[in-house]
Point group: C2
């Protein structure tokens, strides 16, 4: 390999790990050497990178010698265990888990929103939660122009957010339901085939889930907007890999749908799909496999008597912009 | 049959028609005679009622002689064409279409909300839109206690809302996607299998769909609350027959989640499913086939600094409470 950086991917065999590999390839990331790390049971498995088969190694505290950038997507507990050894070995950690996101010493970065924060790191840069990223990429440009005060969100979150095995569970369970077979949920707490449920991550004392509160807490940090108010309902739906979100926004200043479409048309990472005459609007099927967040159904909130409210619907690939792509973009900021 | 009323069902071969028949049976409606009406191509088909096979007749202006109550679920254009002939023949029409809902001379009734309006009819009583019914059954008791000012809704609407053929399209298309076959959407404008889209009914000039504005206009009429503000996003999801809705409510008076649960525990037509410690909350799978609307995930809106906001998630069977059951309940008010 002809690049300048040695990369490690912790959690290389997972759904996000697979897309990190593809994204590094696709974006011609200057990789000199790459190391695929995972738990013991994946050791010896071979993954391809730029046509080369590379054996998966066990993720240990000794995995990071010579590594410049370590992309972590192996869950919060592994991030907590192995981020420091990686830093001690000289790597910068880009962490996709929730382990460090709200740590004051750790920047939380969406390159389209707050790239400058990435450079203030102390060894770790956190990748935000998928639904936060997909919302913020589309909402931040509007906030910058008109000052967002309050957001009411309802999400339509794909199976991929729960990992590769959950995506397979959706597929297999759906097939079993169609054949009239008994089903046995494993990765999800309830049947996901032809069903949905308002439960992602654990419940907190205020009745919200942790996933729902991430939208508020992470958005405040990323947007440097501590007064922002958000109420969110996160719902898992039987869709493979792209999240959608219905967003009701209240701004300090007036904003029309036309202005919003103009702003988003030139915003990075967003494609405006908003041609209702031709049945064009964001859908997870169209957002799957692409880098951009799709934004549409933009209209003036009819429940208000002023022009400070907008409705918008967005879809974004959970594994790409919601995770792997955002992490690789952060790594690009480090070069 | 031993009852006192002659009933006609216009649209008896549709998804809602089938559930009207089942609901009349299940609730021991006092049926003396029953007539199944449909379009020409269904004539001669036999449907069962209380163990008796009854032949489907063609829906014409002459179909209603001797009929006491005509339940219409054959689409708005047929309602417009055949409601008057039915009235002229002496029947009271309970109409499931959107044809007469906003007509000032036609009551729009949810028996749990405004049963008294049913008695003020001039021959027609309209059945509200499915998503309006499912919302209002759960929200009206809270409104009565605390005065609802504004509602922001995002829906998760089942295939059944588009009819029996659409339910079959979801099933068959899902099977085809799993087998890697090409798919060809017919009843839906886009692929519904493993996908979703924010588009139900036609688009209006304000950027909302007609379905979304029904939630506002119908709720104002049913609740006798002309100042009520609603902004709604209606989304079709790959679920067979129960709608879900994420509801963000703003009240004039303070209301806590505990109060809301108390109020809904004794409200007609609602089952509170709100035990997050045990992963119990409304889901379309559990709402399918039952009469009640499930309400849960009730929590204080964390985006407000007062106690005037609540979040709630509801699921209800689109074909039963959203259509057939509500129509039969209206018919019961006429006895």
């Amino acid at each position: 390999m002809s690049g300048s950086r040695t990369i490690a991917i912790a959690g290389a065999t997972g759904a996000v790990g697979a897309d990190m590999i593809k994204t590094l390839e696709k974006r011609n990331f200057p990789v000199k050497d790459i190391r695929f790390l995972a738990s013991k049971r994946s050791v010896g498995k071979k993954l391809e990178f730029r046509g080369e088969k590379i054996e998966v190694e066990e993720l240990t505290a000794d995995s990071f010698k010579g590594v410049d950038i370590a992309l972590f997507s192996a869950g919060a507990s592994r991030s907590k265990e192995f981020a420091q050894p990686a830093i001690d070995a000289g790597a910068v950690v880009v962490d996709n888990s929730s382990a460090f996101r709200m740590d004051q010493n750790v920047p939380l970065v969406i390159p389209e929103v707050n790239p400058e924060d990435a450079l203030k790191h102390n060894g770790i840069i956190a990748n935000p939660n998928c639904s936060t990223i997909i919302m913020a990429v589309a909402v931040y440009p509007l906030h910058k122009a008109k000052n967002l005060k309050r957001l009411v969100a309802a999400t339509y979150q794909a199976a991929s957010g729960a990992g590769a095995a959950a995506m397979e569970e959706l597929r297999e369970q759906t097939s079993n339901v169609l054949e009239g077979k008994n089903i046995n949920p494993e990765k999800f707490v309830h049947q996901i085939a032809f069903n949905l449920f308002p439960h992602i991550d654990i419940f907190l004392d205020n009745g919200y889930t942790k996933e729902e509160m991430k939208m508020l807490n992470e958005a405040r940090k990323i947007m440097h907007h501590p007064e922002l108010q958000i109420s969110c309902t996160c719902v898992r739906v039987p869709v493979p890999r792209a999240h959608s979100e219905s967003l009701n926004m209240e701004f300090e200043n007036e904003i029309t749908p036309e202005e919003a479409r103009d702003i988003l048309s030139s915003a990075p990472g967003v494609i405006v799909k908003d041609d209702i005459q031709n049945n064009i609007y964001p859908m997870p099927k169209d957002a799957s496999g692409i880098d951009e967040v799709l934004a549409g159904r933009i209209r003036q909130d009819c429940s208000r008597n002023d022009k400070r409210g907008l409705e918008m619907f967005v879809s974004g690939d959970q594994l790409l912009k919601g995770a792997a792509l955002n992490a690789v973009q952060i790594a690009e900021l480090l070069i």
